[in-house]
Amino acid sequence: MTNNNCYLPHEAEIVERVIESPSIFTMRLRFVDDTTHNAYEFIPGQFNMVYLPGGGEVAISIVSDPESKDLYDHTIRIVGRVTKGLAQLKDGDRIGLRGPFGRGWPMEKAKKHNVIVITGGIGCAPTVSVIHYILNRRQDYGRLSILQGVKHTDDFFYRHRFETWRQAENTQVFLAANELGDHYENWHHGFVTDLLDQVDVDSEHTIAMMCGPEIMMLKSIEKLLQLGMSAENVYLTMERSMHCAVGHCGHCQFGGKFICKDGPVFSFPEVEALLKAKGV
């Protein structure tokens, strides 16, 4: 997308809204200008700034398939003023959209490798495009293991997606929750990190990609390294407050990194020291 003014949003229409859970919804968006819509390209892991008219902007990762020009999907958790406002919009309403921003997942490097996707809560959203990307190029990648953890099974969403992925070729899905509701007997009761025991990790030929609470990612990394994976093959996506998305506003600084433009995806060695420090 070309736009000389990197701060100026484009008009977009909410074509469809999907209620994923009581606090999570997906907005399926189309740029009102066809040329903008068709010229728009992104890679898995990148994000957009979604603008609520009169409310402000929030950084939201793109969950649709990068191959598809149909609609650009954004899964959003209601956590603050702007996301609450976005949740109240209806099909056909107009919002603002600018992007894509940031560095995405290492899809090239991951070719010919097994891929383990480890996510917690809404952290699964930024990895959906990775999963679609791999499933659409099945021969280019090895086994795909998808590990998702939630606090309570009531928080689980994308139910149909996980079911579809479970059926996909050379793909495994493992689910964990700290609290199990009724009818979830086949889930693991505990942390997502425990699920790694069920994955046969070929440490030489695996790339791990994770998104979720920092403590969850640190625990997972610890385990992956114990299993013999090298730190360079472990990738994670970071989250901080973002206002501008282009490295100007200073809010998303993580040590010397601007998460908005140097990330949000980092290899573990790039952020190891910072992740372990408090209040950085």
Partner: protein, 368 residues
């Protein structure tokens, strides 16, 4: 080639800039400090005053009535002109059918920055890297920079808080200005770098500066060099800060720091800003505004219910580590120009050079 610009011709220069539709911004005394604002008459300049600066202290004293630039600096200079403390980035309007129209906010004002100091110019070059160097360019800043004429006045005096010589600076500006002046008896020696400056100066029918005037100008600058006592410790500060994230000095300084953010507001390179929305009451339009922010606020590191840098210790560490350390990683330069403003305007007189020295001292102690 150096010209001599006598004071009456300086007034002509200001008149000429005004005629060419420049907004002339220059130093003047207000509320007991030197501030930069619009001016039209050289009588408004800070004649006959000198600033006395110490940690947590700023006051003006009477000095030689015949000089307009016997002082070092004030709380602000160029930053509020180029990177506005509050500015509208764009507007959005909604029509009857619910369609949104996003409009850029234009700004084509021409600014003549008169009488900024070499450290202020150094700071502009650093902010240029923040807003202009990457693939994402801030057009608001860019437009203003393209329309700015810079007339720098070299220093003849260093305050007790000046340390530009150990911050890659110098009391004499060496590049990146349109016109550089050094105050001598009866006026200034002047040289220029841009064709716009050449055109301006040629209208004033100036004579060449005499060798005595040039010697006097050199002496003035030497005087500022010689009297500058404060020093930023030498060494690889980026490495020092990287290695000392858990140093006890952070706890120590946090007991003195009020987390007020004064240092970030007076710092000529601090660029953090927040974006806020100003919707109209009828809900049909809204303005997207940016305002200066500070890493000393709780809101700066707030993310959905969580404040990442909860304590003053974390915030001061962030500010100092960014300014002198990670700035290199981001922009290939330190973020400090040695103007000393953060020391002067800190209500508790925290001295950035002393904090670094304390980190270094303990560090050396550890190595023994």
């Amino acid at each position: 080639m150096y010209y001599f610009l006598p004071y009456p011709k300086l007034q002509q220069l200001i008149d000429e800039l005004n005629q060419q539709a420049y907004r002339c911004v220059g130093p003047q005394v207000r509320d007991g400090a030197i501030v930069y604002d619009h001016f039209h008459d050289i009588k408004q300049l800070p004649w006959g005053v000198r600033d006395i600066q110490n940690p947590g202290e700023y006051r003006l004293e009477a000095h030689d009535e015949k000089q307009a630039f016997a002082w070092a600096n004030g709380p602000q200079a160029a930053k509020p002109e180029l990177f506005k403390s509050r500015e509208s980035l764009w507007r959005v309007e909604r029509d009857d059918k619910g369609k949104l129209c996003f409009r850029e906010v234009e700004n084509n004002a021409k600014i003549a920055l008169f009488g900024i100091r070499p450290c202020d110019l150094h700071a502009i070059k650093i902010q240029d890297r923040v807003f202009l160097q990457d693939k994402y360019v801030d057009q608001h800043y860019q437009r203003r920079r393209e329309n700015t004429l810079i007339i720098v006045v070299n220093c003849s005096y260093s305050s007790n808080n000046c340390f530009c010589l150990t911050a890659n600076g110098h009391p004499q500006a060496k590049s990146d200005y349109d016109i550089a002046l050094t105050e001598v008896d009866g006026g200034f020696t002047a040289d220029f770098l841009s064709s716009a400056a050449q055109a301006l100066l040629s209208k004033l029918a100036l004579t060449e500066a005499s060798s005595q005037q040039l010697t006097a100008a050199e002496k003035k600058i030497d005087q500022a060099v010689t009297m500058q006592g404060k020093k930023m410790p030498e060494g690889d500060l980026a490495q020092l800060l990287r290695d000392n994230r858990e140093h006890p000095q952070w706890e120590d300084v946090s007991r003195r720091c009020l987390s007020c953010g004064n240092c970030t507001q007076v710092c000529p390179t601090c660029f953090c800003h927040r974006e806020v929305e100003k919707p109209a009451l009828d809900g049909q339009s809204s303005e997207h505004v940016r305002e200066w922010d500070s890493c000393f606020t709780e809101g700066h590191s707030y993310i959905h219910g969580l404040v990442v840098r909860k304590s003053t210790k974390h915030r001061y560490r962030q500010w100092l580590t960014h300014k002198l350390g990670t700035w290199h990683e981001q922009f290939g330069t330190s973020g400090c120009v040695g103007c000393g403003r953060c020391i002067t305007w800190c209500p508790t007189g925290i001295d950035i050079t002393k904090e670094v020295a304390a980190l270094q001292k303990e560090q050396q102690h550890d190595d023994e």
